[in-house]
Amino acid sequence: MTLDVGLPLLVLALPFVAFLLLAIVGPLRRTGRGAGLVSIAAIAISFGAALAVWAREFVAERTWGWIPADGGPIATVGVLVDPLSNAMLVLVTLVSLLVQIYSLAYLADERPGPLGRYYTYQSLFVFSMLGLVLAPGFLQMFVFWELVGLCSYLLIGFWYERPAAARAAVKAFWITKLGDVGFIVGIVLLWSATGTFEFTELFEQAQENALAVPGLATIMFLIYLGAVGKSAQFPLHVWLPDAMEGPTPVSALIHAATMVTAGVYMVTRTEPLFALVPEVLTLIAWVGAFTALLAATMACVEGDIKRVLAYSTVSQLGYMMAAAGAGASPAGFLHLLTHGLFKALLFLAAGAVIHAVGTNDIFRMGGLFRAMPQTGIVFVVGTLALAGVPPLAGFFSKEAVLGGVWEAHLTGPFLMLALTALLTAFYMFRVVFVAFFGRAHAGGHPHEAPWLMRGPLWLLAILTLLVGIRFALGGGETHAEAPGWLPPLSVGLAAVGFVLAWAMYQRRAIDPVRIAVALTPFDYLARRRYGLDGLYAGLYRGIILGFSRLIGWIDRYVVDGILNALTALTLRAGDGLRHIQSGRAQDYVYGVAFGVLFLFVWAQLWRR
């Protein structure tokens, strides 16, 4: 094992160095823009190194003992470099780099102190995400898994003076923790059954059929729970839309391209283990497809541009999970990568719009295409990619997912995903038509974003195009197994969605209100997020607050009561006993005399 892992380690270490520098050297952090430049420089070199790793198609594993024990170390840390992590490294560093550059302009109005804090968190996040990607075993993965969760919490609550942001941060943290409890329990159970955290060892055992552990399905289900929380799968998806309270670049990086895909990445990474438990895989596929459909319906009634994108992210994550569940994890992973590109693009473009208009509400935008044509073009590119229009990147990966699910004979999930594809095109073009075309509603004069923001947008748009063209030219092998009627079907679905949105929001041939009335139950439910948020709030109030109240009662009346009783007893006893001390010398002499007498008598009796 003397394979050179220096380069991957460099990719991992640079953001950490930047984080340490910013965290420890206060004056540097408080310069704001200076801190940003440090962080950007580190991530830029890191990106270069990641590209080099990817280009050379590195495959290496190197681990160091971490928790020593008699029979070899219990746990190890290290790096596992293979095509999967190579691709992730490039995606994470690329999107992080672009987002950090974009943030310089987007957060230009921030004071230097908070800006420095922002870049400190960003560096920590990139480091944690890379550590998660490179993890060679479950334990290291879990540690970094929690670290990205922490960074997500810190960055959602970046504007912590706003109560909504602080609440959203706490909500995101707690809901993902619900899944993480399952994750850690699963990891430990798996370890106690197999004696190792290492992926490679586990895969070897899986191949030799040595993993016939009783209750493996339960273990893998628990591990999957971690992915449910992190990748916002039903029923733990409620935190992601609220996470949009954070700055838009954060949403682009963490809540679209990287952290939320950690769950999908984990399932893809441990695919050989999940392959042993087909029942869990089927569950993953069904939950994924259901999540995709549910989130898509909610996106259709949402008026907040970032929330539409957030529901769309939940929906696409459902796609990826469904692919992983159908045994087509390469397709899911491909969708992860392309989605990372175009969803980051969409979020950043939405950020440019919000920056210009000063509102998130699409119905208070309108006619923006004339005011900011460049942003409009890249947003449309992203929309086309998300809707799955060839030859953009999204088309091929989405088709691969659909093909994979069809191949696995999962008709139910396939139908849900197909319907989702239609809805996806519909809600995305709804945003495009309402916000970018139509009559202008916005007050003031929206203007094009500065170059620091447009640059990353164009780069992502071009990449989305290039990746798609690359697939169009060299592809074919990636979705060879899909039936021939699939590409026309998915394009047709996208077209139907497009036409619907066009007819409703551009031509106004169909009144959206009449549709809403016709579909009242769905409209009602989707607008109320299917009552899930209310359910969680109710559960929280009922269980957590009830429990807290019980504990408070016990503390106030039982614990404090015992103490109060003890002090009262001591006081009473002291009060009674003090009368013994009369203050008269003669009484004491009585005591001494009778004491001596008693001692004499006692000594006499005792001697016998």
Binding site: H579, S582, A593
Partner: protein, 100 residues
């Protein structure tokens, strides 16, 4: 010839009378007198043992005790007088400033 036990009985009697005085007298001067009796009972014991054991140490000790007793009475009386000046009484029952 009077035996040792007679002296010891005498000493015990004197000690008991002294203790009785200390415990029962109301007057601080009376208590001091009781203490004197108890100390002299000890002296009788010492002298008696010295005489019967033929050991002079007890006699020498007695001399010390007598002189210390004198000092003690001097100090005790001085305290009683000082108390009288402040409290206008030397009645032991009322000197209970340390009562709990």
């Amino acid at each position: 010839m009077i035996g040792l036990s007679a002296y010891l009985v005498l000493a015990a009697l004197v000690f008991s009378i002294g203790l009785f005085g200390v415990l029962t007298r109301r007057n601080a001067v009376g208590i001091l007198l009781g203490i004197e009796l108890m100390l002299n009972a000890v002296n009788i014991n010492l002298v008696a043992f010295a005489r019967f054991n033929g050991d002079l140490t007890g006699l020498i000790f007695t001399l010390f005790t007598i002189s210390i007793t004198v000092a003690e009475v001097a100090v005790g009386l001085a305290i009683v007088i000082a108390i009288f000046r402040v409290r206008r009484t030397v009645e032991a029952d009322r000197l209970d400033l340390l009562r709990g």
